[in-house]
Symmetry: C2
Subunit: 549 residues, 2 copies
């Protein structure tokens, strides 16, 4: 019994939970796409542009664990590379397949379209080498092994992989997969594990107060349940915004979203003043740490990373997160310490239902109040992220953002991917006008697939994050003035519920209407003042401005 | 007297005729953009997305000789790389400047935004190494020399160059340019030139019939006038579509647009049956040669290339186009051959002004009839290119297309760049619905700058080139259904003249209205049947389908 290379690849993707493949067709890739259409359990999602496909695959992978996109050689793959680089930076595993000229064309070195006309068919793949953890070219008879190799690497590293496939290779016959894809677990050094637990035991026993700080690597390395066990041992805990949603923000011991010196006092003192701080999967970025203004000593405390652990700066190699975290939990439980005082987070003020002009502070408070555990928030890296990240979410509410890579335009296509990945969980996309302009065409893709996310678009006339940092009135921070109300219908979402809000009162009514209207795309244009920014952004921008100069 | 690195760079760009710099701001680049705004003679053109900036800079460079874009580190530069690769493939010189984290940040290896969080600040520049002819990082005190080096290379190779600039380097003081930028002329080997002219003399003397075939390298290497001198010696001449506009298509000896075996009979026999074919700057691509179906023997005749010449296959190195072409003209003039019969090109049928449904054949005939010498046609690589390329243009009418790189979405931003480059020449953009979706946001940029091109958008429900090649009814060739009439206003072009045409009669009326309305953006939605394709595309597609499988 044989299969084809394309079918082998698709069956491996199915095995990884991939039910949707994103991309834009090109003449080289059409035969491969025939197989995609013919494969039960896999749906082709044609996006308007390749960058949208990459972002959508990333959003999809953040929900389902793995994503995939198919582009055409040269023009298509290079249009997607920024999205793939974002997945690399933020550790999102996916596969980018690009289909190019046939092997016969390669052999003749023909000057065919989508090449540089010089017979070099390896030129464009090089752009992906630095932004993927594994890459290769599919040729018979090694194609199955090569597919397995790059997928295994993507899973192990939580990074994207890249495959180039000449157009004729997809139809070649190969043996079907004989066993499940090999998953490479991190190596565990038993001796280091013993030494690590000894060090942790001593440290836990002597600590007068202990707190936990968690971040996005908890999500990427699949230890949310283990983290929940740790904090259930009775430890106050905070989260870095990039990891928002890995902790239950309604837990009595939840101490808030930590952002270094820019954190709320309760959050900051819980983290910075803890005698023992246990950091779980923490990787601080300037945008998540108030410009690296964390108040705890970098080397002190217990630090659990994907492949190693540290205790007061001492490194224990090959003691990975999946092993170190349960070990720490067991030792914390065994130590009968003082019951901590629950942190007292400041509750937002009661909603102001008057008709005063909408402010950013009110906007993000109101949006966060309107969320439920069934929502998945996608916050564009900009005003939206800085506005929403520090607000307390209901239990179970999801969160996707991109504070490390920070590519504006990511949010809208990521919402497309996330909404397809989990139709039962309504996406709430928070995006600014400047950012939305980069990838607005994918609103049409959302409409085409009859998806019903809620889009809250902040219309304030430009790049607000940049205004806060530099050039508040500089022409380069202005954008083209669009008629946002008219856009959803123009892009094919003629059935969308479109609302424009300028006051607190209108926003609250619009959010009510949005949540009541679950069977249509909802688009809320929220108009705020040009200079109005969330407080966290204002304070962060001051620091960024200084560091850039 | 000193200047700053940014001002040095901008003064060099001014020297190259650059009056507009395209891009999207990022926080790292804002101080550099302050200098752009402050530089007399340079205008900042903020596009909605970086890929649009790259395409616009390419379109601009095709008109002005050089282009420039400024993006932000990582996210911005990678979004633009496909556009830059197109400029590389099609030999369009421009400079891509990306501004990144400061040198101090680089030194600390900080995990700042727009990086992979690993302290590697060289990672993303690697994506540009394969698609630029020169690249570098600006540091004091070498910045001026480095700027000059990459600009000189870009001019010599007619390719893009890339510079990465840490955010603090732009403000560093350096000496201003002391002399004009060095231009490197191609090397000329005097001995080879003598041997070349001897070979040409013998060949010309013995030829019973001589014809000329010209292509895009004539444009890129600046020898249009020299080519005009050659054909003025009384030689029938044809053009490859990628070089369309390098010859006067109203010259009595013009023999049409050559596309190998897919050419009109008159064109094909003029080229293929000439006893001596002089090829000037010809570089055939599958899409311009009917799938390499040229009927002339590859090695035979005289071939003039940018840096070398060939006579019946014998190579004369370092006999560049600028030298070989006038030499050939002189020898042709000296030879009193038979006066050739002017080729009889088939005239298109008289316009059908009845109300029959619009067809592709009629559409492209009517559009080409409506053109004047003051127009500049930008044809998207798709139905538009295949439809218009073979139609005869009026003298002086310009043409921009991308048949080698063939990146759909290129046309609209390229029209933005071309229209800014030469406001006196009205751009006529011919684009399909599938292609327009990739970069539609730049229609807003066109409106924002109050530009008045004519846009003819072919609405036929998908990727028509691909339908012709494979999967005429496959779902992947469908696109989201947009309300094209509503889009210009939604994107800020509320003053645009928008027309939808479904019949021959309506199209003719709309074209008349478009050409009469020169002070507004004109947007014509031309609806054609899903399966209707230009004849040239139909024939080409059959061949592509076979070669891809």
């Amino acid at each position: 019994m044989t299969t084809t290379v394309t079918r082998y690849l698709l069956s491996r993707l199915r095995e990884l939970g991939v039910g949707h493949v994103f991309g834009v067709p090109g003449d080289y890739s059409l035969a491969v796409l025939d197989e995609v259409l013919d494969t039960p359990g896999i749906e082709w999602v044609g996006t308007a542009a390749e960058l949208g496909a990459a972002y959508a695959a990333d959003g999809y992978a953040r929900v389902k664990g793995f994503g995939a996109l198919v582009t055409t050689f040269g023009v298509g793959e290079l249009s997607a590379v920024n999205g793939v680089a974002g997945s690399y930076a933020e550790r999102v595993p996916l596969l980018h397949i690009t289909v190019g000229p046939s092997q016969a064309m390669e052999d003749t070195g023909a000057s065919v379209h989508h090449t540089a006309g010089d017979g070099d068919f390896t030129r464009f793949a090089r752009a992906h080498e630095s932004v993927t953890c594994a890459h290769g070219v599919l040729r018979a008879p090694d194609a199955p092994a090569e597919i397995d190799r790059v997928l295994t690497a993507a899973l192990a590293h939580r990074r994207p992989a890249y495959l180039r496939m000449p157009s004729d290779v997809g139809a070649l016959h190969v043996p079907p997969p004989r066993r499940p894809l090999v998953r490479v677990d991190p190596i565990v050094d038993p001796g280091n594990l013993v030494r690590f637990t000894d060090a942790v035991r001593r440290r836990v026993a002597s600590a007068e107060s202990t707190a936990v700080l968690a971040d996005y690597l908890v999500d990427r390395f699949g230890v949310r349940a283990e983290l929940a066990d740790l904090v259930a041992a009775g430890l106050p805990h905070a989260v870095v915004a990039m990891g928002k949603s890995v902790l239950d923000e309604r837990d009595p011991l939840f101490a808030g979203v930590y952002a270094g010196a820019l954190s709320d006092d309760v959050t900051r003192t819980t983290v910075d003043d803890a005698d023992l701080l246990i950091r779980v999967g923490v990787h601080l970025v300037d945008t998540t740490s108030g410009g690296f203004s964390q108040g705890y000593p970098d080397g002190a405390g217990i630090e659990l990373q994907p492949w190693e652990a540290r205790v007061d700066g001492e490194i224990f190699a090959d003691v990975p997160l999946a092993v170190s975290l349960p070990a720490v939990t067991e030792l914390v439980r065994a130590h009968h310490g003082v019951t901590p005082t629950p942190p007292r987070l400041t509750d937002p003020p009661p909603p102001d239902t008057t008709c005063s002009a909408l402010t950013q502070e009110f906007l993000w408070d109101a949006v966060s109040r309107s969320l439920t555990g069934e929502h998945l928030v996608i916050a564009e890296q900009g005003t939206s992220y800085f506005g929403i990240a520090s607000r307390r979410f209901p239990s179970g509410c999801g969160f996707i953002a991109q504070p490390l890579w920070g590519s504006i335009g990511y949010g809208l296509p990521a919402a497309l991917g996330a909404q397809l990945a989990d139709p039962a969980r309504r996406c709430v996309l928070l995006v600014g006008d400047g950012s939305a302009q980069l990838t607005i065409q994918e609103l049409g893709t959302i409409a085409r697939h009859d998806l019903h996310p809620v889009v809250v678009l902040v219309n304030n006339g430009g790049y607000t994050v940049e205004r806060a940092i530099h050039g508040p009135r500089a022409a380069y921070n202005d954008i083209a003035a669009w008629d946002w109300r008219a856009l959803p219908a123009a892009l094919g979402a003629e059935n969308a519920l479109v609302m424009t809000v300028r006051t607190n009162h209108e926003l609250l009514a619009a959010l009510d209407a949005a949540h009541a209207c679950t069977d249509r795309l909802v688009f809320i244009e929220a108009i705020t003042d040009l200079d109005d920014v969330p407080e966290l952004l204002r304070r962060l921008a001051e620091g960024v401005s200084i560091r850039n100069s």
